[in-house]
């Protein structure tokens, strides 16, 4: 997030796009709801499903899955055409406006309404006018923007809009992505990415390599950017990757196109999995290490607003259950490294030495203070709002982006749009939530959510077992009939191995950041006759 959670009361209004906030980030969802319901702030919601927030929205756009960029372009078209954008901000702090304006010319409300499947084009105009009045408006988004082939462009479009409105660098404004897991931010900051060291320092540089070799007392590191998760799976499938070491992830359940992932893991010569349960992925391993669960650990995690927070050991792990860092260190030592961390604190000291944005953070400080990176020195209070005076690159760059349709369009054989996602009570592959009583009892099984029109077309009743198939696979799952998605769009949560949504999804990737296109593919629904 460019801004902070505690600024929510300072926003005059909100645009929530591609985020089912009250289910996936419920605490932030409630904070936004409080502003809107109890304090009459404005709310614009864009989401294919009629999520809870949509009920309180001044404008709700039930767009066709995968058409975020078109509607964002539509809003911007109106802002520019009616001269409602923040001219001063754009002139002083941004560049690339002319090109953006040119690209936006064709995104008239009618054109956009047609792409997005919205009935009332005039609502786009009204909503854009409202946005211009909200000083400031905060934009929140989540996987509903990123999990598309065009995900990176979707993210850039949100930035375009907020720059155009002059909502960057001000309290209560900003572009605020909500991260799906508690330490996505930290994992990225720490360099658990194929192309960057900690603090996003590129690996493809001899100078950076030399710097890290010196810091780590080693030689022979690589300047070649590595493979992303999906590329690793493909390389394993092709036999180029021979061994894998997986810590705390369950790709068999969470990656798209399950069959392909399983084959890839089977092709490996050697697989090590380190986890708390014998997960679906661990079953394919040669060695499985039992690791501590998060409340058995000490360390730090960085939340979606860049706040670095301490985690304490609440429960003592069983004797033969070990910390993840300890296990890695033991292997490293056996392979010739001279690491000797005694506790997470020792690791953190090394982190701040090589990560400039964390340099001023200590275990002691985060016990007492609220610190958000960048925090370059011990005296620095941390950074609540990014891009206050300037953007990281100087001027904010508008990126002219055209709408591109999703990879898989519906056809006669697969006429229905399938989207996937999470529900309030569960998390990811379900390993944790389905082993927690209250959550498991509340929602014990998967379902396919469909509109009553579709249900009657296929002659399906609520709770009936149906078959949902795509080009990749087929599952049996109970129908839940609800006026939430539009007709011809169905939704399946991906937490349940018995009815695994990722047997169905496509594994085509965003060309830049390689996010699988989870949110949309084409399927067919069939009644299972008794």
């Amino acid at each position: 997030m460019t801004n902070s959670i505690r600024e929510i009361p300072e926003s005059a209004g909100f645009l929530v796009i591609g985020s089912n906030t009250t289910e996936n980030h419920p605490v932030i969802g409630s904070m936004i709801k409080n502003e809107v319901v109890n304090k009459k702030k404005k709310l614009i919601v864009v989401d294919p499903r009629k999520i809870e927030l949509a009920k309180f929205a001044d404008f709700y756009f039930a767009i066709k899955p995968g058409t975020n960029i078109a509607i964002l372009n539509g809003f911007m078209h109106v802002l520019i055409k009616e001269g409602l954008y923040n001219r001063e901000f754009v002139e002083k702090r941004c560049e690339g406006f002319d090109e953006l304006a040119k690209t936006l010319e064709k995104y008239t409300p009618e054109y956009v309404a047609d792409i997005c499947g919205i009935d009332n084009a005039d609502d786009i105009v009204q909503a854009a006018r409202l946005m211009a009045e909200l000083k400031p408006m905060a934009l929140y988004y989540s996987m509903g923007i990123t999990q598309f082939m065009s995900g990176v462009n979707g993210v850039k479009s949100t930035a375009n809009l907020q720059m155009l409105l002059g909502n960057m660098g001000v309290a209560g404004g900003g572009v605020n992505p909500l991260r799906g897991q508690n330490n996505v931010q930290g994992a990225c900051d720490m360099g658990a990415l194929p192309a960057t060291y900690p603090a996003y320092i590129p690996v493809a540089s001899d100078e950076n390599k030399a710097k890290f070799e010196a810091a780590w007392g080693t030689q022979g590191m690589s300047t070649k950017p590595g493979l992303t998760l999906m590329e690793m799976m493909n390389a394993a499938h092709a036999g180029d990757v021979k061994a894998m070491y997986i810590m705390g992830e369950n790709p068999v359940m969470s990656d798209p196109n399950q069959q392909h992932v399983i084959e890839s893991l089977e092709h490996l010569d050697f697989l090590v999995v380190q986890d708390i349960f014998l997960t679906e992925t661990a079953r394919y391993a040669d060695v499985v290490f039992p690791a501590c669960a998060f409340i058995e650990k000490e360390g730090t995690a960085t939340n979606t607003e860049r706040r670095v927070q301490p985690m304490h050991r609440v429960l003592k792990p069983k004797d033969d259950v070990k910390d993840d860092w300890w296990i890695i260190m033991q292997i490293a030592r056996r392979m010739g490294a001279n690491w000797d961390y005694e506790e997470p604190k020792d690791i953190f000291k090394e982190i701040i030495a090589v990560t400039p944005s964390y340099a001023g953070i200590t275990y002691k400080r985060i016990e007492e203070e609220l610190i958000q990176w960048p925090c370059p020195t011990k005296e620095h209070p941390g950074t609540q709002i990014l891009h206050k005076e300037t953007f990281s690159r100087g001027k904010g760059l508008f990126t002219a982006i055209d709408y591109t349709p999703p990879f898989e369009e519906t056809d006669r054989e697969y006429p229905v749009i399938l989207t996937t996602g999470r529900i309030l009570e569960h998390f990811h592959s379900g390993t944790m939530t389905r082993n927690s009583k209250v959550l498991d009892e509340t929602v014990p099984e998967g379902f396919v959510e469909m509109h009553p029109n579709d249900a009657s077309n296929y002659n399906i009743s609520d709770g009936e077992l149906v078959a949902v198939s795509t080009r990749r696979g087929s599952i049996r799952i109970k129908a839940k009939i609800l006026k939430r998605s539009k007709p011809n769009v169905v939704f399946i949560p991906f937490h349940f191995f018995e009815s695994c949504a990722n047997k169905l999804t496509v594994d085509c990737l965003d060309p830049v950041c390689k996010i699988p296109e989870y949110k949309v593919c084409s399927c067919k629904i069939e009644k299972i006759s008794a």
Binding site: R6, N24, P26, V27, S30, Q147, G180, N182, N183, V184, G186, A187, A192, P194, V203, F212, W216, T218, M221, K224, T228, M232, V241, A243, M244, M247, E249, S254, F270, V272, I276, L278, V287, V288, F294, E298, G299, T300, A301, N303, T304, Q309, P310, H312, L315, K316, K318, D320, D324, I328, Q330, R334, M335, A337, P344, N435, S436, V438, E441, T442
Partner: protein, 352 residues
């Protein structure tokens, strides 16, 4: 912001215009007894326990009364004391406050005040209206309205923090009572089980269903950590009992969550103590997993990875780190892949 100077119990303090006496008193370390007041909720001045004497004359509810320059506030004198005692006595009469059977025993604001003010149950025969007891319809929340003091905190917590508007007070006078939605059982209502109303209930009228462990409140140990289920990163206080079992969780007021939690942060942690947890390293031998010692497993992995590196080069090895692991663990994992293996084939599930 206009500064205001006043005295509380003879000590000069300053506040800001618009603040209440309660707020300024708390900031300056004074404790004024209260039941319906909570700093995170709107103020109603309903319980009257927080009355203070102003300028040696009037009695006012300190949770709603704004501070005024040169005001003299007395937080307790003999008169106030006897009123508080009388108010507490009334509350005790109206309900069934037997702490022996109550989950809130030892963690109850009413109990604490009753002890402080040495209140005893009245001997008078007071008509007690039997109210709803519901320990079964919800797997998250237990409800015993006979312990409810009608402070309305749960109503405000659900309306202002969770914003689900489940609870409401209905009817008036002695028949006032609490209902969920339009008079449904809590387990059949629109409650999303965030548990916030329980966290803010000052008595044992609302309590959590037990998850794993049990034990009296004074034996529980508290430690904070960060929720694992989403990027909000809610700070949670975990309570464990003498046996080391998890009993309950409370939203920490200094976290990004401001005291709030969702159902996952509230009830999502019994998996940690699940019997299905892995407890020993496993090596697959002839298609079957076998438990082995740490040294054997570690030696084997080190040898296999070294061999792959030797034979096929560092880029034949790939590592997946985890967005559920700590910064320290992610750092060590990428350092391992880069400096020990010699490849940049390291990623995690950020995109998923």
């Amino acid at each position: 912001m206009e500064k205001i100077t006043l005295t509380i119990d003879g000590k000069e303090v300053t506040g800001i215009a618009g603040q209440t006496i309660m707020e300024v008193a708390r900031e300056n370390g004074f404790h004024i007894p209260h039941l319906c007041y909570h700093p995170k909720l709107s103020k109603t001045g309903a319980c009257r326990l927080c009355i203070v004497r102003i300028n040696n004359t009037m009695l006012k509810a300190s949770c709603t009364e704004p501070v005024v320059s040169d005001m003299k506030v007395i937080t307790e004198d003999e008169g106030i004391k006897s009123i508080r005692k009388w108010l507490l006595g009334l509350i005790l009469m109206e309900g069934d406050h037997n702490c022996l059977y109550c989950d809130a025993d030892g963690d109850c604001q009413l109990q604490a005040y009753v002890k402080t003010y040495e209140v005893e149950q009245s001997k008078e025969d007071f008509p007690v209206i039997e109210r709803e007891i519901d320990y079964i319809t919800s797997n998250a929340i237990k409800r015993n309205e006979n312990r409810c003091i009608l402070c309305g905190r749960c109503v405000r917590a659900c309306k202002e923090i969770q914003v689900s508007n489940v609870w409401g007070l209905c009817e008036r006078g002695s028949s006032t009572h609490l209902i969920a939605d339009d008079d449904k059982k809590i387990g059949e209502s629109t409650c999303v089980k965030c548990g916030t109303c329980v966290q803010y209930c000052p008595t044992g009228a609302l309590t959590f269903q037990p998850v794993l462990g049990k034990g009296p409140n004074w034996e529980l140990k508290k430690e904070s950590s960060i929720c694992i289920y989403c990027g909000v990163g809610c700070k949670i206080d975990f309570y464990t009992n003498k046996e080391g079992l998890l009993v309950k969780t409370m939203g920490h007021e200094d976290g990004p969550n401001d005291g709030h939690l969702c159902v996952k942060g509230r009830f999502g942690f019994d998996f940690v103590q699940s019997p299905k947890r892995l407890t020993k390293p496993l090596i697959k031998k002839e298609g079957q997993f076998q438990e082995v010692g740490w040294n054997e497993a570690l030696d084997f992995v080190a040898q296999k990875l070294s061999a792959a590196k030797e034979q096929f080069g560092p880029d034949s090895i790939a590592g997946l780190s985890s967005a559920k692991c700590t910064n320290e663990e992610n750092y060590v994992m990428q350092k391992f892949m880069r400096s020990v293996i010699g490849t940049n084939n390291i990623d995690h599930c950020a995109r998923l």
